[in-house]
Symmetry: C2
DNA sequence: AACAATCATCGATGCGCTTCGATGCAGCGG
DNA sequence: CCGCTGCATCGAAGCGCATCGATGATTGTT
């Protein structure tokens, strides 16, 4: 069974029908009587037939493959990235799609290559920056594209992401509710801002405007992804705003070090300092002090991205932008002042 | 330029040759004079031609795609996984291969599906366990396969991995050299051992035999990937072997917590406790106390996996197993007793 | 100068599938 | 009982490419 490669012709022969009938049974694009359909299905099962992907793509004009473009040398948190990717693959498979893994590093050329050689029917692109050179290409290519994350301004492509501005605002409000009046934002590495990466900017502005509304004083600093980087960031904050008691940390990779570093500076959590963060829920949970956080719903975002892409593949031309509402979970890292 | 889809026929017309000539120029499988080759290349450039992947796969019998099977809900460290994947994609691209991302979860059926529909020419499979049901399938499928990690016993498939046994031994020797006589291994989550995952077992046996050779006392415990899990593991070790001074931690996800937890138990690092670990070098570096480690060369392993697969695709039938020699780097977490 | 041995190129075929137009057949109304 | 409609199915064409055998053009040989 299934030893040698079996083609649609073999199935047709076994079921005593023509190849087109087999094809129609499989695609359902024309009515086939129940009896013959059954015969065909039985033949398929007995022979272990699978349509050849290349032939199908050639004849049908679609590959059933989604190109997923991932920043591999990212400042993003790798675990988060993996969760996106996992969600995309899993959701894709549910709709008979496979996923081709592409890297940021191939850039515009990669997109061109994949599109021109019909390797994928759609793209999902992570970590798009303001004025990303790939955006115009994606628009020009006649291939649906969905962005995970928002570029600076709307660009005529569908996007999905956590609402980072609202998330930051929600966390600020929470700190304010707890009585904190002097807040600090410890952000992403400086390079992320230099590249005008959307989510970092949005956190910054959400933080700023919420704090302004609440009339509390704030300070902000980027933070390199190392223990020393965090130490410098905290030192910087405390030298410029010594009475800081509320900390919003938006930098997954130094999350594990935050409590220890504050300790070094004589601040215990949550006694002297309340810390909130934006990160996946499971990440917030696995530390000495569990962090009050807004969850980063990587799984949802990945699934939604696929669903948007599928909708485009089915002909929908309307561009959508979905910002997921933040969900905060109180844990052990925050306390009323 | 390149607006509408351009096929090999268009190139042929533009270069005033036959399609077969274009094909031969591209593949180099027959000699073509420099002049016509130049004409063809110019036409290709001017038209922006890219061979259609589906057609090429259909006619040529190879897809130029490698299937990469990744455990998405892994106990493995996600960052390490990403680094493997990145290396595979990058190295693959250097040889004109793309990468199809598949998940463990699809299991045997996924392999069957991809192979039978000719979606990939080869598989690279991560995190194979002893008696993994996919191994017999991989062997039966007429598709080259390379395993990242060693299954329990040799299985007639090419493998590549860090030599975990030697790594553990090297670290034990180092601790012993520093005068430690009472060692603990804090390992992976219990589930990993239950599944008989190769690398975990090999660390365990390398640890055990090196310690035995050195005649030092040892203790071992698994560890769940959370702060509390580590706390329990350390408590367990200290209750059963209170004089432990040398710690081998093989569990990336709790690495950031190790110093804090030992602190809780009144052990400072490296004053009262020396800690060594197996993890990527950059991970060892970004903590309060930089860890003495054996590097996990995910990048190398990924590249080698691709190269092995390529060799098989070129006809090499010899199965190889490559265990990469451990490289230790001393940092701040170890000290002479 | 005639012929064999390259060399460069062409045309035709087939890979496995989808899709379109065509065909046969049953059932229907008149 | 004839033509018509609608359903189930078939056959053929074509998707874009690789490859094989064949052909014409060169070169080398004696």
């Amino acid at each position: 069974m299934g030893e040698t490669v079996v083609s649609i012709g073999d199935v047709a022969k076994a079921a005593e029908v023509s190849t087109s009938t087999v094809s129609y049974v499989l695609s359902g694009k024309r009515p086939i009587s129940k009896e013959t359909a059954d015969r065909v299905h039985r033949a398929i099962r007995e022979l272990g037939y699978r349509p050849n992907a290349g032939a199908r793509a050639l004849a049908g004009g679609r590959t059933n493959v989604i190109g997923l473009v991932v920043p591999l040398r990212a400042d993003l948190s790798l675990p988060v990235l993996m969760e996106f990717a996992a969600a995309v693959v899993t959701r894709g498979r549910q709709s008979e799609y496979d996923v081709l893994l592409l890297t940021h590093e191939e850039g515009v050329a990669g997109l061109r290559r994949v599109a021109a050689s019909s390797l994928a029917d759609a793209f999902i692109v992570m970590d798009v920056q303001a004025d990303d050179p790939r955006v115009p290409i994606l628009r020009a290519l006649h291939v649906p594209a969905v962005l995970i994350g928002l570029p600076g301004r709307p660009v005529g492509l569908s996007c999905v992401d956590l609402d980072f501005a609202a998330s930051a605002a929600l966390l600020v409000d929470h700190l304010v509710d707890l009585g904190h009046r002097s807040l600090a934002l410890i952000g992403s590495p400086a390079a992320v801002y230099d590249r005008h990466t959307g989510y970092a900017q949005r956190v910054l502005s959400g933080f700023g405007s919420a704090a302004q509304r609440a009339k509390v004083t704030t300070i902000w600093t980027p933070c390199e992804p190392s223990f020393d980087g965090l130490r410098r960031a905290v030192a910087d904050v405390l030298s410029r705003q010594p009475d800081t008691t509320g900390w919003l940390l938006h930098n997954e990779s130094v999350l594990p070090s935050m409590v220890a570093v504050l300790q070094e500076f004589g601040r215990s959590v949550p006694g002297d300092a309340s810390v909130v963060t934006i990160c996946p829920d499971d990440m917030a949970d696995t530390h000495a002090v569990a962090f009050t956080n807004v969850g980063l719903p990587a799984n949802d975002v990945g699934e939604i991205a696929v669903e948007m892409a599928l909708r485009h593949l089915e002909g929908a031309s309307a561009v959508e932008t979905r910002l997921l509402a933040p969900v905060m979970t109180e844990r052990d890292s925050t306390r009323r002042l």
